[in-house]
């Protein structure tokens, strides 16, 4: 497997996961779960601004902001309950790996990126598809926003 095609922050995360044993990978995912930032106040009080990724086994809401920054950075916001640490962990990985990148960089991430984390044995295929769905949703939203701006 190669991580060359990944944006550098995401590639670093994948490398971190790959360097660990399986139980340690779950521990790292838990740390990402704990590290997922809180929503800013302007979104916290407006759940209607977020949309649910129904493919996830637990409630996961996200929104993507594009075009509001001069540098073209895409901002990602996630919300998942603490009793769904696996889902939160996936969100944490995507946040740390993708937040602040450009639309083109995000669109270049391979759709099967979640499989690079080496979690497919410890976590059921169904759950891994939840993370894939999260990435897919982000990419679709970024693509739609890019087209709208073009």
């Amino acid at each position: 497997m190669t991580t060359q095609a990944l944006p550098s922050a995401l590639a670093a995360i994948v490398d971190d996961f790959q360097a660990l044993s399986e139980p340690e990978r779950l521990q790292l995912l838990l740390e990402f779960s704990e590290g997922l930032p809180e929503l800013p106040d302007r979104l916290k009080d407006h759940p209607e601004l977020l949309e649910q990724v129904v493919e996830c086994q637990s409630p996961l809401f996200l929104t993507v902001e594009t075009g509001t920054n001069d540098d073209g950075a895409v901002r990602l916001f996630f919300k998942a309950p603490p009793e769904a640490p696996t889902t939160r962990g996936f969100a944490g990985v995507l946040h740390e790996g993708l937040d602040g990148l450009t639309a083109d960089e995000i669109l270049s991430v391979p759709d099967d990126m979640p499989e690079l984390l080496g979690l497919t044995r410890a976590i059921t295929p169904l759950r891994m598809r939840g993370m894939t769905a999260m990435l897919g949703r982000i990419k679709r939203k970024v693509a739609a926003a890019s087209q709208a701006q073009a």
Partner: protein
């Protein structure tokens, strides 16, 4: 030695009150040091594989249904050797009293309990209300991982027949005994081939097994995740579903976890002697060649070619 059975009015009405414990009872057992001493083994078994790590009942060990209870290469459960090794590593001996709890109203906890019973483990109980109730009541959680002394577990061959049904068993059962489909109404009618919010795990065809009654698993649970009382359960399963005493019942869902919850309610709360969980469930039946299905809200009848 078995740990004393909890006595309370709600449980006393059930056929087998010894199969449940309340959060109050378990909290007292933790407080008394019984869990720390290994007199009582508490097991957390969740759908979310990281939930245990975020905090669990003091002294509880974790069993992951996916990596601990399933065989890696066969779609089956672990064998006697692997189960003995797993149990011993969690501090469980053959005569241990085991209390299991988990997320999502005990889906996976009931499933783990059912697997323990495939191996004939005698004293295994569910925490009524599961993890959510414990948390909602503000009871203690810890991130400390217990280091249980190794248990002494013999190699016991699984005895599937009494409580597990395979596809051929269900085919033979058609027209002779009742089936309970515990999935959502949308899955039952065939509107969708997967449970709501789980769109990716489907089957080729949507519908239900002919003659099966639709009683979604959650009907057995009250708002706080505890089991409904006996009277309420009887109204649902004897009334609506039409089960009668002495029936040989088969329950199924999508992969057998939600139906473990119903299996538990039928067997231990209502006292049906013969209840089997069809763990192949809809992911097998909905994809299998030459098995009949029914679409729509009606239970349907057994096709002559199958029933003959």
């Amino acid at each position: 030695m078995p740990y004393p059975v909890e006595q309370n009015e709600k449980f006393a009405a059930y056929a087998h009150p010894e199969r449940l414990v309340s959060t109050e009872w378990l909290a007292a057992a933790v407080e008394s040091g019984a869990v720390a001493a290994g007199d009582l083994v508490v097991v957390e078994s969740d759908e979310d594989v990281l939930l245990y790590e975020t905090g669990h009942i003091p002294g509880a060990v974790k069993i992951d249904w996916h990596t601990d209870l399933n065989d890696e290469v066969s779609r089956d459960y672990v064998n006697g050797e692997a189960f003995a090794e797993l149990a011993a590593s969690k501090g469980i001996s053959r005569d241990s009293t085991v209390v299991i709890y988990g997320d999502k109203s005990n889906w996976w906890a009931a499933y783990a309990l059912w697997v323990f019973e495939l191996f004939g483990h005698r004293d295994v109980r569910l925490l009524d209300g599961g993890r959510d109730k414990w948390v909602a009541e503000g009871r203690e959680l810890t991130k400390d991982r217990p280091a249980p002394a190794s248990g002494n577990y013999p190699v016991v061959e699984r005895d599937d027949a009494p409580i597990r049904a395979f596809k051929d068993d269900v085919l033979a059962h058609l027209g002779t005994g009742p089936l309970i489909d515990v999935r959502s109404p949308e899955e039952y009618t065939g509107q969708r081939t997967h449970m709501p919010a789980y769109p990716e795990e489907g089957a080729l065809r949507g519908g239900h097994i002919p003659t099966a009654a639709s009683i979604p698993w959650a009907r057995a649970a009250a708002a706080d995740g505890t089991f409904r009382n006996r009277e309420e359960l009887e109204a649902i399963y004897l009334g609506e579903a039409g089960l009668t005493e002495g029936d040989d019942v088969v329950a199924y869902c999508r992969i057998g976890e939600r139906s473990s919850h119903t299996w538990f309610a039928l067997k231990y709360l209502l006292g049906f002697d013969s209840v089997r969980n069809y763990d192949g469930s809809w992911t097998e039946w909905g994809n299998a060649v030459r098995v009949p299905i029914v679409k729509g809200a009606e239970r349907g009848s057994v096709p002559v070619a199958v029933g003959a």
